[in-house]
Assembly symmetry: C2
Homo-oligomer: 462 residues x 2
Amino acid sequence: MNRSRAVRLLEAKLGPSKVLSEGAGLDAYVTDDSGFPGVVPDAVVLAETAEDILQTLAIAQETGVPVTPRGAGTGRTGGATPVFGGIVLALTGMRQILEIDRDEGLAVVEPGVVLADLHHAVEREGWFYPPDPNSAATCVIGGNVAENAAGPRALKYGPTRDYVLGMDAYLMGGRRVKVGRRTRKGVTGYDLTALLVGSEGTLAVVDKIALKLVPKPEHLLTFSLQFARTEDAVSAITRLIATGCVPRCAELMDEATLEVMRNAGNPTAAGANAMLLLEVDGLEAACEEQAERVAEACERAGALELLVAQSENQRSKLWEPRRHMSYAVRRLAQHKISEDVVVPRQRLGELLTGVRALGERHEIRALSYGHAGDGNMHVNFFWNDEAERSRVDAAVADLFRLTIALEGTLSGEHGVGALKAPYLPLEQNDELIALQRDLKRVFDPAGLLNPGKIFPTTHRAC
Amino acid sequence: MNRSRAVRLLEAKLGPSKVLSEGAGLDAYVTDDSGFPGVVPDAVVLAETAEDILQTLAIAQETGVPVTPRGAGTGRTGGATPVFGGIVLALTGMRQILEIDRDEGLAVVEPGVVLADLHHAVEREGWFYPPDPNSAATCVIGGNVAENAAGPRALKYGPTRDYVLGMDAYLMGGRRVKVGRRTRKGVTGYDLTALLVGSEGTLAVVDKIALKLVPKPEHLLTFSLQFARTEDAVSAITRLIATGCVPRCAELMDEATLEVMRNAGNPTAAGANAMLLLEVDGLEAACEEQAERVAEACERAGALELLVAQSENQRSKLWEPRRHMSYAVRRLAQHKISEDVVVPRQRLGELLTGVRALGERHEIRALSYGHAGDGNMHVNFFWNDEAERSRVDAAVADLFRLTIALEGTLSGEHGVGALKAPYLPLEQNDELIALQRDLKRVFDPAGLLNPGKIFPTTHRAC
C-alpha cells in the first residue's frame, strides 16, 4: 500500500517522534473549527523544521499520498481537514519569531507562531501587526496566510495579504522557492506572494514569513452605538467615512444578535434593532477629532445611544458581547454554521432583510453580525436535529444566491475550504475555475496538496 | 505570411479605421519612455471597445503573431515596446471612467483613463486614489495596473495593487474571465487580481478595472529638509515613523541631485548633502500633531534646515525640483538610464555610498533620488557617447549586485520589462523563474502576449 509505505518512509526520514501513525492522537486531526467531517489521517507529521516540510512533501509526491497542511485548526471552512486522509502536516511546532527588525518595521516568523504572541511581541517594540481574526488567541500565522485572514481591524488596515512581503514556499515534491522580498516595495516578476496568500494551503506550504509592521497606534477610542434600523447603522458608517475618518473597526450586530445579547444580560436601548461598535485610532489629537466626527455622523444617522469607553476596562466591556458572540451563539442550538459573505456596504440592509426572509422561509433560525465597514457579515444558521439539515443547506444556498445578486462574494475571510467548494460555481464561471485549476496544476501536478478544497469535486483525489 | 494575414483579419474584423498598418504612424509605437529599441510593428490596433481587445487576441492566437499591449507608453523598462514587432494593442482610446460610486468609495475605469483625470474626478467627489507615479499627467490606469505603479504616496498608502479589487481579464485567444470583485474584501478562490497586477501585460489585457478609493485627506503639510549626510535623512524618517507618524511621502535627494538643483538656481543650505521632502496628511488636528513630530524627529536627526509650506503655492515650490528632476536630469547628458532599486530603508546609506563608488569605478556620472521611506531609489546613470555604453552596462550590473547584497530587489515600481530582463537571474533562481514561466504558459501557451518581457530570452519568440 502506498499509504503504509509513506508512513514508513516518514518515520525513517524524520524519526518516529515526529510522526503519529496510530492511536487516538490521530483523531484530533480529523476536522477543524468548522466541524467538517474529514477522514482519520494515515499519519500526522509534527514538523519542527523546514527540512521536515521538505521531506514530507517529497515523500508524499513519491508515494502519491495526499498532504493536508495544518495550523491551529481554527478555520471555519474545513481547510485543514484531511478529507481524503493521507498525511496531515502539522506546523504548530514551528513557532519561532525569527526576527523583529525595530528600525525597519519587519518581523520574520515561522508558520506556527500564534497570532496573539506576534501581536504582543511586536507591540512591546512599538510596532503593530493589524490582522486580528476572532481566533487571535489560538490561530497561527501560517493559517492566517493560507486563508488571508482579516478581522475587525481590516477596515482600516487591510487583510493579511497587505502585510506579507515574502516567504519560503515549499512545493509538492519538496522544492523550495523564495517568493517576494524583505523590502516594503518590489515588483520584480509575478506577485507570487499575493497568489499564495489566501490559496488555502493548496499551492505551497510556507515558512519564514516576512511581515510588514506599522507603528503601534498610540491612542484608541471605542464607541458602542445603537440604532432603530440596520440601514441607520450603515448610514452612520458611510457618513463617518465621508468626513474623512476611516474607523479601524465598524462591527454591526443585527436584531437577532441583540436579542441574544439581551438574553445574556446586556442591556440595550429601547427600540434598538442594530448595534455598532466603532473604533478609531492614531495620534491623540487625531483621535479626539475623529471622536467628534463619530458623534456627529452617528447623531445624523439617528443613533439611539452612544457610549464611549473611557478606560481599557470599559473598552473590554463594550467589546465583550461582540468578542464572545461566536462562542455564545453556539449555545443556541446543537449545530450552527457560520458563513462570511460580503456585499457592497450600501447593500447590507438588503442582505440582512434577505437573511431574515430566508430564515423564515426555511424555518431556520438565523442571526448576523460582522465587519459592516467592509460589507462582510457572519451569517449564522442554527439547528438541532439532523433532519433539519436539508433546510439549512437550502438556506445557505439561498444566502449565497442572494449575496451574488447583491454583487457580493461568498467569502470575506474564512475561505472556501471544503465547506463552500460546492458553491464556488455560483460566483465563478467554468472558465475562471478551469484557469485556477490549471494554475494549481503548475504547483502540484498530481493534485496531492490539500485536495478537496476550493474547487468542487465529485470524486476522491486518490 | 502570418503577419500580413493577421493584419488583413484585423482590418476585416475591426474595420480599417482602428488598424494602422503602414506609414510613419507606426513609428510612434516602436519604443516607450525607456527608449528601449523595439521593432516597427506590423499593425497597431486602436482599441475602442472590449470587443476590439477580444478580436485582436483571437486573431493573434490564430495567426501566431505576438501582441504587445500598450497604454500611454510612459514606462521606464520597455514594457510597452514591441520587441518582436507584430501587433501593438493600443488601449488609450478606451478612456471612460465608467462609474464612481460615492457611497461605496469605488471607481470602475477603462484601461486608457489618464491617471490625473481619475485623480481629479474622484477628488471632486471627496474621494482619493493614492497611486501617483511621476508621469501622472500622462500615464494611464492600464499601464499602472500592468506595472503595479506606485509613486511618492505609496509610503503611506501602498501601490496600485492595494487598490485594484477586480477586473475583466482578456486572455490570449480571446477568452474573458472576470477576476476579483467589487467588494472591499473577498477571498473566494485564488487572488488572480493580485497576480495580474504587476504582470506587465504578459498574462492578460484588462478592462473594467474596479478601484477602491479612500477619503480625500482634508489637510496636507509639506516639509523640505536638508541634512549633512544621507544617513541623517534616513534617520529622520526612521525616528518619525517610530513616533507613530507615517508620512505620506518621504522623498530623498542625494548629494549629486542637490548639485543639479543648485545649478538650476535652487538655493540649498550650507553643508547640505541630502534633502528630504516629507508630507503628512489627514484631519487637521492630526496634521498639526504630525508636524510637531516631524520637527522633533528631524531636529534630533540633525536637520540643517526645515521649511514648511504655508500655502498651495509654497507647496508647489517645494515640490518643483523633485517633480522636474526626472526631466531636468535628461539635460545632463545625451543619454540616461534610470533604475529603481529597493533596499531595506536602513541600508539606504550603504546603497548611496556604493552608487558613488561604482560611478567612480566605471567613470560614469551617477545621481540618485526617490522614495526613501520605502527604500526605493531611482539611480540614474548618464553618458554621451555610445562608446561609454559598456561601462554603463557594467555600472548597472554592479548596482543590481549591490542591491541584492543589501537584501534588496531590482525594481520597486518600474517593472522588469525588456530592459532588466537579462538581470532577473541576479535576484531569482532558476526554479523560481521556471515556476513563473509555467504560470505564464497557463495564460498564454504560445508565448504571444508581450513576449521578451520579464524573463531573459536568447532567441526571438517567433
